[in-house]
């Protein structure tokens, strides 16, 4: 369960400061399937980075499974980031010197999982996204959509409790997009919490809750409308 209360974040670039998150209140319950939509530059990825413990908020409370993340040690945070949350980055973030299988295995290496188990899970994840035959290719030897699918495979291989996917179908044709969304729907039925950012309405349609973002704020949230 994710609980954000009055979250603010400002970026400083030279003398320019830009407030990317302006008082975000958001609750995500276990097993939810939510999509975040909003204009380019409105703060969606920034919000994901704060939730995923990849970047720090300036102000406000963030409770993860009931515990304030400011109480967690650096080790506890790292463990959560790596084992509890599977992250599909908007720009994939694959390592160019490793092949696709090694890239998919990376979070499992950090989690201390043994080599045989890692390879089995990595190949299963690559197979789930249609990339089993490209396991030994490097990122610069595969297509844009294949890189995107490899990033998805890496996020799901460890079977994390929460998957955060930032524009996971931006480089995929509609058939591949639906295959990926079917995969997320199946994981969600098995109990995985899914939070995704997308600008495509038919991708957002797989979610049960669509949260709309605008200029650093949540401008619509079905869970908040009656309030």
């Amino acid at each position: 369960v994710i609980q954000l209360e009055d979250i603010w974040k400002t970026y400083q670039t030279g003398e320019v400061s830009l407030t990317a998150l302006k008082g975000i209140d958001l609750t995500i319950r276990r097993g939810e399937f939510a999509a975040i939509m909003g204009p380019s530059g409105s703060g969606k990825s920034t919000l994901m980075n704060v939730i995923g413990c990849l970047d720090q908020k300036d102000q406000g409370n963030y409770l993860l499974n009931g515990r304030s993340i400011s109480e967690l040690s650096a080790n506890e945070l790292a463990k959560i980031r790596n084992e509890e949350i599977g992250f599909v980055f908007q720009s994939f973030n694959l390592l160019s010197k490793l092949n696709l299988r090694e890239n998919v295995e990376l979070p499992m290496v950090y989690a201390g999982i043994g080599r045989k188990a890692r390879t089995e899970r990595a190949m299963a994840a690559l197979d789930a996204v249609g990339l089993a035959d490209w396991a030994r290719h490097k990122p610069n030897e595969v297509s844009g959509g294949q890189k995107q699918r490899a990033a998805i495979a890496r996020a799901i291989a460890l079977k994390p409790a929460l998957i955060m996917a930032d524009e996971p179908t931006g480089n995929l044709d509609s058939k591949s997009s639906h295959e990926i969304m079917q995969l997320f729907a199946t994981l969600n039925e098995e109990g995985t919490t899914i939070l995704l950012i997308t600008h495509e309405a038919d991708v957002a349609a797989y979610a049960r809750r669509i949260i709309r973002f605008g200029d650093g704020r949540i401008v619509d949230d079905p869970m908040k409308r009656g309030a």
Copy 2:
């Protein structure tokens, strides 16, 4: 005018060989606005790289403005790549050490354009994609959709005769996507030839011709149907 006759290309990865283009016949006339659609991994970016002289075909003829590109010197090829063709890459390819304005100016630096003219044109291009206020930000200090728009600005700043855009709206919300497509439509009215790869049907709708790709071949081309 682009004329491709029986173009073949195979990638070798270790002992694995994959034929990405299997006998492509394609003609693009001056002033055309064409879109290429097809599944992930079907060879679209590979085709763009061959047309843009960024990668070599293994077999077949490629005539650019009536001249076979195998007759062109390395210098002539470089000049065409840099000044005649504006390329929006699927993975943007912005340089992380330069700010957005410097990134947009880069093709103009190679073309020998003076500093004052470059800066004017770069700021006009950034303004056209809504990024004038981010000119001094570096790529890692802007959002995914902003990076994509900076890559588009760089492709149009030199006013090239041909623009090739590989998934130019993959990271953009629908409002920004339509603004970018309006921009391309305007450039096309002014005489620029536009060839874009997209998997989004409402982006392809701006083109006058939709070429469908599948497994390394053209599987539908309105210009070829009567034949």
